[in-house]
């Protein structure tokens, strides 16, 4: 019987009611009295020198409050980067300044040049047209290989060669890996592109800055996954506002997928301008602006080599990657191709020797940073593609080759620094073979062929690393922040509870799932527990939500705080029942004394805590509220096996997804309904990457895919029903809930399954095609088969 409440129940989401009735409270729904509107004048060239900017006439336009340019931000901090990578020669990365508004130069299409603040948005836009602006256009670098060439145009004047860093991992393995590859019985080589994507949460970014002169306090409402991180970065590094005078609120947020982690110039601008003008200032991104100002994702070019011995055991792996940083370093950009990518290159396999080289490159494009999976999809894609190619070269079954090389003993120390605590890769593969009906594929292929279609099957595995931590380790790796999470459990006098969490929900359903955990621990109904998040004034310092960390790290903090509450409540109960504390048990919301029929209810204890008439005041304080900060001892390692079946129309090159199956091991699951939903969404994004999505620049750095007319988002008729399963459970060994995280798996595991299937389909038609780059659009597929 499935549970109907507590851990493991598919409790319906309480947040849905407000979203379904139009009463959500997204940032753009908030308006401050007397607010002004800002419109950003953005660069329409990829690279250029600002030779003249004259705002005098524009400032006289109706409704204009003030026009700001880069000159207004001299002496104001640069938008900071939160991660410093040290390269393989021991040098720290190159970290150019990132001004709020362009100073002297523009470096990508969309770089903000001026900010027009006016009484209405229409007036701000009208005034932007009246700004006199001269830009001397400079040659742009778009392609990473070109950017690294001698004499290439310089994105930043003091950085010839445009190289941010050259990272080697693990550097000590380099020679051994080279030797093993040279001596191997077989080496499979693959060059591939991980296409640049735009995250595209459906809610565009919004920022509303307010300033209260009475107490010198600034408030920023913003579409963020991590309001405390924004407060820290913006307050301490950009604007110099102490944290106690700065409140950041991220209310209902309409999707994030990584792109709402980062601190953006528009947030700093609205906060700054509100102080300058003593008037609220609001910015709402249009979708077109989002395409040229939200950090993009992926954009790697990789050569990968897999060496096998004569028995098809993996013996060594070597990768060489160029990673696009865009024009400036976004908040966590340097960590994505390095620590979130190199550490995953062992995948599910016991390859003993691995060397990863990554060169991060500046180009005249929008900054690139974490997008759902962040580094892990890039790692999984190259590894699972090269394994598949090796199987085809060697004429062995791709599933069998994977099984032969699976890691089967845990804990497992990989050669790329991380230690997997637990997993069962054969079990998820068995489950996949069952739910995907791999055995029935041959018959389905015949049916497709009878219709004149090719049919392909692609299978792959993935491993991910979630809940990146512990803080002291990530500090050594270059993180400029801790990666703990916090929770305060505030029990009210009548027994209801508010849980203040530092993590943030923007679709993940924390308001439903988190109370399930606390309710299970206390034995009280879920509806007595509310989650408070997204406001630095109401929650303890927390690092927010990304990297599938909310439950594994934030949930663990909540468990720890709840344990503290239980311990104190037991003390109170022992006093009320005049029994020894050691004999007190808590079950179904009742405290009992073991071996007796004495009991007091949860509500009696909570009332006593706040009305402490009969209370051990000499031993414990009144009140019942506890806070915990949880810093994990390791990452968590969800894993799984995915299968995709495609049909390919050889006449047109069009590929359709016929079946998609996912067998995941997320450890323990709190709300299976929500978990499945996370996987569904991830799969659609992965399918989008594999078949449809691509952010395209022309050779001059013009962004060609800047709207939904040109950037192909997956729609309802591009995907099928998916078959997902998370019944394979190896609980995480080092967090109290045994949970691993599920937010990114779908996006990590699905692109290689799709491309493996497309290649399989083409080969089944007798085409000698061993690889196709994403997105495998009809024209690309047709060209590959007919070229």
């Amino acid at each position: 019987m499935p549970k109907d409440h507590g851990i493991g129940a598919s409790s319906k989401r309480r947040e849905d009611v407000r979203f379904l009735t139009g009463t959500g409270n997204y940032t753009d729904d908030i308006n401050a009295r007397g607010q002004a509107y800002v419109h950003f004048l953005r660069s329409d060239v990829a690279h250029g020198r600002i030779t003249n900017i004259d705002t005098a006439a524009a400032s006289e336009m109706p409704g204009v409050v003030r026009i700001f340019t880069g000159a207004d931000f001299e002496g104001i901090g640069s938008i900071p980067c939160g991660w410093q990578v040290t390269d393989r020669f021991g040098e720290v990365m190159h970290e150019p300044p990132h001004p709020v508004l362009a100073q002297g130069k523009v470096r990508h299409v969309g770089d903000p040049i001026a900010a027009i603040v006016a009484d209405s948005l229409a007036e701000a836009r009208d005034a932007a047209e009246a700004i006199e602006l001269d830009i001397e256009e400079l040659p742009a670098v778009v392609n990473m290989k070109d950017a690294l060439k001698d004499g290439a145009p310089k994105v930043h004047d003091d950085l010839p060669g445009n190289l941010c860093y050259d990272w080697g991992f693990v550097e000590e393995n380099r020679e051994a890996v080279d030797k093993a590859i040279k001596e191997a019985a077989h080496v499979t080589t693959l060059e591939l592109v991980n296409n640049r994507l735009v995250a595209n949460p459906m809610e565009p970014r919004v920022a509303l800055g307010e300033y209260n002169r009475a107490n010198d306090e600034s408030t920023l409402y913003t579409t963020s996954q991590n309001p405390h991180v924004i407060r820290l970065l913006m307050g301490a590094f950009v604007l110099g506002i102490p944290e106690h005078k700065l409140r950041v609120v991220a209310p209902d947020v309409g999707g994030g997928f990584g792109t709402k982690i980062f601190h953006y110039a528009e947030e700093a601008f609205c906060t700054f301008a509100a102080r300058q003008l003593a008037r609220p200032v609001k910015w709402t991104s249009t979708r077109s602006e989002a395409f040229m100002s939200d950090a993009h994702g992926r954009d790697h070019v990789t050569k990968i080599e897999l060496a096998l011995d004569k028995d098809n055991n993996f013996v060594a792996l070597r990768t060489d990657t160029l990673a696009n940083m865009g024009a400036y370093l976004s908040t966590f950009a340097p960590s994505v191709p390095t620590w979130l990518h190199g550490t995953l290159m062992a995948g599910n396999y016991k390859t003993p020797l691995i060397y990863v080289n990554v060169r991060a490159v500046f180009t005249n494009t929008v900054p690139v940073d974490a997008y759902r999976g962040a580094g892990r999809p890039e790692a999984t894609y190259q590894l699972e593609r090269v394994v598949d190619k090796a199987a085809r070269e060697l004429g062995v079954d791709p599933i069998a080759l994977r099984r032969q090389n699976f890691i089967t003993e845990f804990p497992y120390q990989t050669p790329v620094a991380v230690e997997y605590d637990t997993g069962d890769y054969p079990a998820t593969m068995d489950k996949l073979e069952e739910i995907a009906d791999i055995a029935g594929f041959a018959a389905r292929r015949k049916e497709s062929e009878a219709k004149g279609r090719l049919r392909g099957l692609g299978v792959n595995c993935y491993i991910e690393a979630c809940g990146i931590a512990p803080s002291n380790l990530v500090g050594q790796l270059g993180a400029r922040a801790g990666l703990y999470e916090s929770a305060t459990v505030r029990v009210n006098a009548t027994g209801s509870i508010s849980v203040m969490t530092g993590s943030h929900s923007h679709g993940q359903g924390h308001e439903t799932a988190f109370p399930q955990v606390v309710a299970e621990m206390l034995g009280i109904p879920e509806d007595q527990i509310d989650i408070v998040h997204g406001d630095t004034a109401r929650t303890p310092m927390g690092m927010g939500t990304y990297g599938s960390r909310s439950l594994a790290v934030g949930g663990s903090a909540m468990v720890r705080a709840t344990e503290k509450v239980i311990n104190k409540a037991k003390k109170i109960a022992s006093h009320l029942m005049e029994a020894s504390e050691a004999d007190i048990e808590l079950k179904d919301g009742q405290f009992t004394v073991a071996g007796t029929d004495k009991s007091v209810a949860w509500g009696d204890v909570t009332l006593a805590a706040y009305v402490p008439h009969n209370y051990p005041l000499e031993d414990i304080e009144p009140g019942l509220e506890e806070t915990a900060f949880y810093d994990p001892s390791n990452f968590t390692y969800p894993s799984g096996a995915y299968a995709c079946e495609v049909e390919l129309d050889p006449e047109t090159g069009r590929v359709t997804i016929e079946r998609f199956s996912a067998a995941d091991d997320f450890g323990n699951v709190i709300n299976p309904m929500i978990v499945s939903g996370q996987v569904h969404g991830g799969i659609a994004q992965g399918v989008g990457q594999a078949l449809m999505e691509g952010c395209v620049y022309d050779e001059n750095g013009q962004l060609l895919s800047a709207s939904y007319m040109d950037y192909a988002m997956p729609r309802a008729d591009d995907v099928p029903f998916y078959s997902v399963d998370h019944s394979c459970v190896t609980p995480c060994t080092h967090n109290p809930l045994g949970v691993k995280g599920c937010g990114e798996a779908g996006a990590i595991g699905s692109p290689p399954a799709v491309i493996n299937a497309v290649v399989d389909a083409m080969q089944s038609g007798g085409h000698d095609v061993t690889h196709i780059d994403m997105p495998a659009s009809p024209s690309r597929v047709w060209a590959a088969m007919n070229g």
């Binding site: 979203f19 959500g24 991830g682 995907v719 029903f721």
Partner: protein, 161 residues
């Protein structure tokens, strides 16, 4: 500026608008009905979908002035007087057809319009109809399932959760 008058969710409303004011801007800005969302500027996403004279309309494709005299229904106007959810809204909750909720009002208004014209749509018909509504969160699985369930179809056989 010109005066425009229309009926929104059964109430007569009016306001001064510029010629260029879009219906969605009027709904969100003047009427403060913020359940109708703006997800794009090329009329591709459907977050702004409302009903105008009973037809599904993307309210970013229409000037407010063009809605003079029209009957407009937004997401705020479909629930029962006692706050009860419609069958479509309830199915979206029951089958987890939403995550961040941003596309949701448009999805619900779109699905409601579909079921009015086609009370038992097939999976393929639903997917085809929803082409104008983008959701980045759900992968559409549970949205399609919810709409099938709302139309009284048995969705028990559709993969788990």
């Amino acid at each position: 500026m010109a005066k425009v008058q229309m009926t929104v969710n059964g109430k007569s409303v009016s306001g001064e608008v510029e010629g260029r004011t879009l219906l969605v801007e009027f709904i969100r800005g003047k009427l403060e009905l913020t359940g109708t969302h703006i997800g794009c500027d090329t009329s591709q996403c459907g977050a702004c979908l409302v009903h105008v004279n009973g037809q599904a309309v993307k309210s970013c494709t229409m000037f407010a002035a063009e809605a003079e005299g029209a009957e407009v229904t937004t997401i705020e106007g479909i629930t029962g007087k006692d706050g009860s959810l419609t069958a479509v809204q309830q199915a979206f909750q029951d089958y987890h057809g939403l995550q961040c909720g941003f596309c949701t009002p448009g999805m619900v208004m779109s699905a409601t319009a579909l079921l009015k014209d086609n009370p038992k749509p097939s999976e393929a018909e639903i997917r085809e109809y929803l082409k104008g509504n983008i959701c980045r969160c759900t992968g559409y699985h549970n949205i399609v399932k919810a709409i099938m369930a709302a139309s009284g179809q048995d969705v028990g056989a559709i993969a788990a959760e």
